[in-house]
């Protein structure tokens, strides 16, 4: 009886500590969110903010449409390249990799994840901008893709490794080719982890400024041609926040808020679209 009570009190105390620590960890997150919303709303509450482009400092009605469209295109192209390659690479690492060579691939991934994004931007500049003598959205997407690739690969590898080998064996025992088992059985089973990894990389790429500064560069006009320079939300934030005008700084906060909401929306939409697969895999 007594022992039971002691166990209970230990139980409650540890739960309380866990809650307290979680709360502590959430404080900075909450503050960032709160600041972004409070400071971003004044700019973002005007509808024209979403439909217009930049204007000179004192002209009212300035907007960030060009940056929103730009970020969507930049990240979209980068995702089209990085997600398929990253997912396939991750499956390869988890399923087929046995040799020394794959240890090197893994190491390269880990180094790349830790590489400062400005260095990746520089790399994209040297490879995709300098030879052509002009900035382009494509070079920016290239830089973002390089940034996303190792994240996707490693998270996919981790998710696939968690799938019990019985699933793979059951598929192979039916006489199915290995690659079909990998892509049509293992990958769907690993879907929740793979999707989380891909979305993480999308969020990361959406918020990157450094790799875009000298690749996609920037563009005061609405541009949808990926061979031309293109504006993006983080670059808008970066430029406007540094300028000594209140209206521009408000626009910077507004752009930051839009960026946060956009990443959230991308996240929720993809999870909604893929909800059936996530549910099925989650029950395994």
């Amino acid at each position: 009886m007594n022992r039971n009570r002691r166990r209970q009190s230990i139980n409650y105390t540890s739960i309380a500590i866990a809650y307290a620590l979680t709360g502590l960890a959430l404080i900075p997150l909450g503050l960032v969110l709160w600041f972004t919303i409070a400071k971003g709303l004044p700019a973002a509450s005007h509808p024209e903010f979403f439909f217009n482009v930049e204007r000179p400092v004192d002209v009212p009605g300035a907007g960030i449409a060009h940056a929103i469209v730009g970020t969507l295109i930049l990240v979209g192209i980068a995702s089209l390249g990085a997600i398929p390659i990253g997912v396939l690479g991750g499956i390869y690492l988890a399923e087929y990799a046995t040799s020394r060579w794959t240890d090197w691939v893994r190491l390269a991934c880990d180094v790349l994840v830790g590489t400062p994004s400005i260095a990746i931007g520089l790399f994209a500049y040297a490879l995709l901008v300098a030879p052509f003598h002009h900035f382009s959205a494509l070079s920016g997407s290239g830089a973002l893709a390089v940034l996303m690739l190792p994240i996707i690969m490693r998270t996919t590898e981790g998710a696939v490794r968690l799938i019990p080998s019985g699933l793979r064996e059951s598929g192979l025992a039916l006489g199915l080719p290995r690659w079909r088992v990998s892509l049509q059985l293992i990958l769907p089973a690993a879907a929740p982890g793979v999707i989380t990894g891909a979305l993480l990389s999308v969020a990361r790429a959406s918020g990157e400024t450094a790799p875009l500064l000298f690749t996609a560069f920037g563009n005061p006009f609405l541009n949808t041609d990926p061979t031309q320079p293109m504006q993006s939300l983080p670059v808008t934030v970066f430029h406007n926040a540094l300028l000594p005008y209140q209206s521009l700084q408000e626009q910077a906060w507004g752009a930051a808020l839009v960026l946060v909401v956009m990443v959230l929306l991308i996240n929720l939409t993809s999870r909604y679209v893929l909800r059936r697969q996530i549910r099925l895999a989650g029950q395994l």
Partner: protein, 280 residues
């Protein structure tokens, strides 16, 4: 001791076709001949030889670690997944060598496998059964009938016919195992290998699987590895008893006979010791 009536013919000394005329035996589906198996440098099986009769249930029994699973996984070349594993000798399926075949996919379609854990695929009950036929490119009308027939033959259709679109993971353990069997017979195998298919199931679910095996025996050659000697005695027609060689650390086939013979008139002292529980 155990009654030693005149020794009936057993299949213990294999490789001699005349021994296959044991009462009730049918022609051999799989001939295992001087089969040795290695995990890298470690030998796991040595000189295993016996014939698995067609459309009968053959049980493989023996203490843990004696190589039962290893032997079973030679029959559908599942060991290919293990780096460094290789087999020597011959395993003939309808006269064609399994060990050296290049056509793994065809082999595995012919030799299905049911595992200890059912591993439902992350999809609906229906899709679990339809998955392989679809990937094999069968026409959809045929797939539809195959799904129903397979579930029916796996004695599962009654229980799930109203919820074919539910996730397979929502089934009970015993139902999942029968789903695994349905999945396996959907691609029309000739042999079904089962590795301790009931070890995670309660007695009721176990009985269902055992009944199912007896029904399936009419169409399929079944090889089952089991730890449960009562189960082997209940369901199988033939039994192979394996043991780890104490010096060589490899598994050996000690005795292979009709189940009745092996349990009632074991030829080898070690078999007798094992089935009477005096093993140690």
């Amino acid at each position: 001791m155990a009654d030693r009536r005149p020794i009936e013919q057993t299949l213990a000394q294999v490789g001699r076709p005349e021994l296959l005329t044991v009462p009730g035996a049918s022609p051999a589906k799989i001939n295992v001949d001087s089969l040795s198996f290695f995990y890298g440098r470690n030998q796991a099986l040595k000189d295993v030889a016996f014939d698995i009769p067609e459309r009968k249930i053959t049980a493989i029994i023996g203490p843990s670690g004696c190589g039962k699973t290893t032997l079973l996984r030679v029959f559908n070349r599942m060991y290919d997944l293990v780096p460094g594993a290789h087999a020597e000798g011959h395993v003939l399926l309808d006269g064609e060598d399994v060990v050296s075949t290049r056509n793994l996919l065809e082999l595995r379609q012919k030799v299905g496998m049911v595992f200890q854990r059912p591993s439902p695929f992350p999809m609906s009950i229906r899709d679990n059964v339809a998955f392989a036929p679809r990937l094999l490119g069968w026409p959809s009308a045929r797939i539809k009938t195959v799904v129903e027939q397979s579930l029916e033959r796996a004695a599962l259709l009654e229980e799930v016919k109203d919820r074919l679109n539910d996730p397979a993971a929502s089934l009970s353990g015993g139902q999942q195992q029968r789903l695994a069997i349905a999945r396996c017979i959907a691609v029309s195998p000739q042999v079904i290998l089962m590795d301790e298919p009931c070890s995670a199931l309660d007695p009721v679910a176990t009985t269902k699987i055992e009944d199912l095996m007896s029904a399936l025996m009419r169409e399929f050659t079944i090889v089952i590895v089991t730890h449960n000697m009562q189960q082997a005695a209940r369901v199988s027609d033939f039994t192979a008893f394996m043991l780890m060689n104490p010096e060589g650390r490899f598994g050996e086939l000690i005795e292979f006979a009709s189940t009745a013979d092996l349990f009632n008139r074991p030829q080898d002292d070690r078999t007798e010791a094992y089935i009477t529980g005096r093993f140690g």
